[in-house]
């Protein structure tokens, strides 16, 4: 990013190629209908922030923090309650605030034998905060601390969210087997 800030267009190409898939999947598993729009918007913010960029964290941490903020803006614009991202929701029983659609209900997913699809369905069932933490860990390769930085929460909160997400996905896998 520093090279791109200094005028190296090839540096941005490399940066984009490394992170395009990760960021796109991060968005596609949370807002599948608006992934393209948000994806482009996030990269435009990256480009716009080029002049003022300074190294404060890993680029991926910085990128997913932008993505997280953009996602929150999207949720606000959609009128969704952001209460799903509060820490109080982390310990509630899974599924109470699940934003998954009717087509992604566990019964429908379990009817399908494709494990990958079941995982994706289970991911879609996760609470948004847990799903985001899982995606940041899987797609972004962020550590718990970095996830906390990207999402604006503490490390322990991120760890708790991730633990809940993994438990639920694990159960999904066990049921599928």
């Amino acid at each position: 990013m520093l090279a791109y800030r200094d005028g190296d267009a090839q540096a941005f190409d490399l940066l984009y190629s490394r992170n395009r898939g990760k960021l796109y999947r991060y968005l596609a598993h949370q807002v599948p209908h608006c992934a393209d729009e948000l994806f482009q918007d996030i990269w435009m913010r990256v480009i716009g922030a080029r002049d003022g960029y300074s190294v404060t964290a890993k680029f991926s941490t910085w990128l997913f923090r932008i993505a997280h903020n953009r996602l929150m803006d999207h949720y606000r614009a959609q009128g969704r309650s952001i209460i799903v991202f509060t820490d109080a929701q982390d310990d509630v029983a899974p599924g109470l605030d699940t934003p998954a659609s009717a087509a992604a209900q566990p019964d429908a997913l379990l009817a399908r034998k494709d494990l990958a699809q079941q995982i994706l369905a289970a991911l879609a069932e996760l609470p948004a905060a847990q799903r985001e933490v899982f995606l940041l860990a899987e797609e972004g390769g962020l550590s718990l601390e970095e996830i906390g930085v990207a999402t604006g929460v503490g490390k322990e909160t991120a760890k708790s969210r991730l633990r809940y997400a993994l438990d639920r996905l694990r159960r999904t896998l066990e049921n599928a087997e």
Binding site: D13, Y16, A28, F39, M44, L115, A116, R170
Partner: protein, 272 residues
């Protein structure tokens, strides 16, 4: 799981197998194009008056050139070159190597003050031809303009004494001169016609010296010195000095009372 137990390998593997979504190529192209375009800063708009740049620049150059030309024309001439024996002038005299060079050398003005000429004869006869070119000296027997006369008198007066001394020296060196002239008549002819090539540093000084040379003539002191020699009966010495003077000022018309030193009157046969 990584170091902070944030991953489950089985879940990660299953997820990787399922999650293959990628952005479309059109989306990629739009983003990359925007990124590259952000690096290319738009060229600054030319100000409205930019079309006036060329005419203003041309006008400025013309005004400057005119001003410099007028200054050059109206500038006071540089003070005349002060020449003394103690401090040799910064003029370099070079003799042309052959006759073929004479024409080209003649085009260049020969610069030498009368004082130099008075001092120079023995040296000139040995190492270089005469320092003046007939066409350039343009000696006129008529007296020069008052201003020129005054200017020349100013320069010649301090050099008058050295000129007299030079004539006395010329008397002593007369055999050398005549010997050199007799030994190499070719060099003597060269001395009469070939100009000296003068390298001058300042153009204004060059103009001043050219003007001086156009009105050059021997000083009265030089002529009086020769007359004195003649009156004292030193005819040979007077003749030598007069010849040296004629070499320096070949176009100068000698006074009648001194002509008989060089061209003695033909003895008339006694009337019968």
């Amino acid at each position: 799981m990584n170091s902070d137990s944030s991953k489950d390998p089985n879940i990660s593997q299953a997820y990787r197998a399922a999650a293959q979504a990628e952005p479309g190529p059109q989306l990629d192209a739009r983003i990359l194009q925007a990124a590259h375009a952000a690096l290319v800063k738009p060229a600054p708009k030319a100000p409205r008056w930019s079309w006036l740049k060329m005419p203003i620049a041309t006008l400025a150059v013309a005004v400057l050139a005119t001003t410099v030309a007028l200054q050059w024309r109206n500038a006071p001439q540089a003070p005349p070159l002060e020449i003394s024996e103690a401090s040799p002038p910064p003029l370099a005299m070079q003799a042309p190597e052959n006759v073929a060079n004479k024409s080209s050398a003649a085009a260049k003005p020969a610069l030498q003050t009368p004082a130099q000429r008075a001092v120079a004869p023995p040296v000139l006869a040995e190492r270089a031809p005469a320092p003046t070119a007939k066409s350039n000296l343009g000696f006129t027997p008529n007296p020069p303009a008052p201003a020129a006369t005054n200017e020349l008198a100013k320069k010649q007066s301090p050099a008058a004494t050295p000129a007299q001394e030079a004539l006395a020296d010329a008397q002593a060196d007369a055999p050398t001169i005549s010997a050199a002239g007799a030994a190499s008549p070719k060099a003597e002819s060269r001395a009469e016609t070939a100009p000296a090539i003068i390298q001058e540093r300042s153009p204004s000084r060059f103009r001043t010296l050219s003007k001086e040379l156009n009105t050059a003539q021997p000083t009265l002191q030089q002529l009086e010195a020769i007359r004195k020699l003649k009156q004292e009966g030193k005819l040979d010495a007077a003749k030598q000095a007069l010849e040296a003077l004629r070499k320096l000022f070949p176009q100068y018309k000698l006074p009648e009372d001194l002509r008989d030193l060089i061209d003695p009157p033909v003895a008339q046969p006694p009337a019968q």
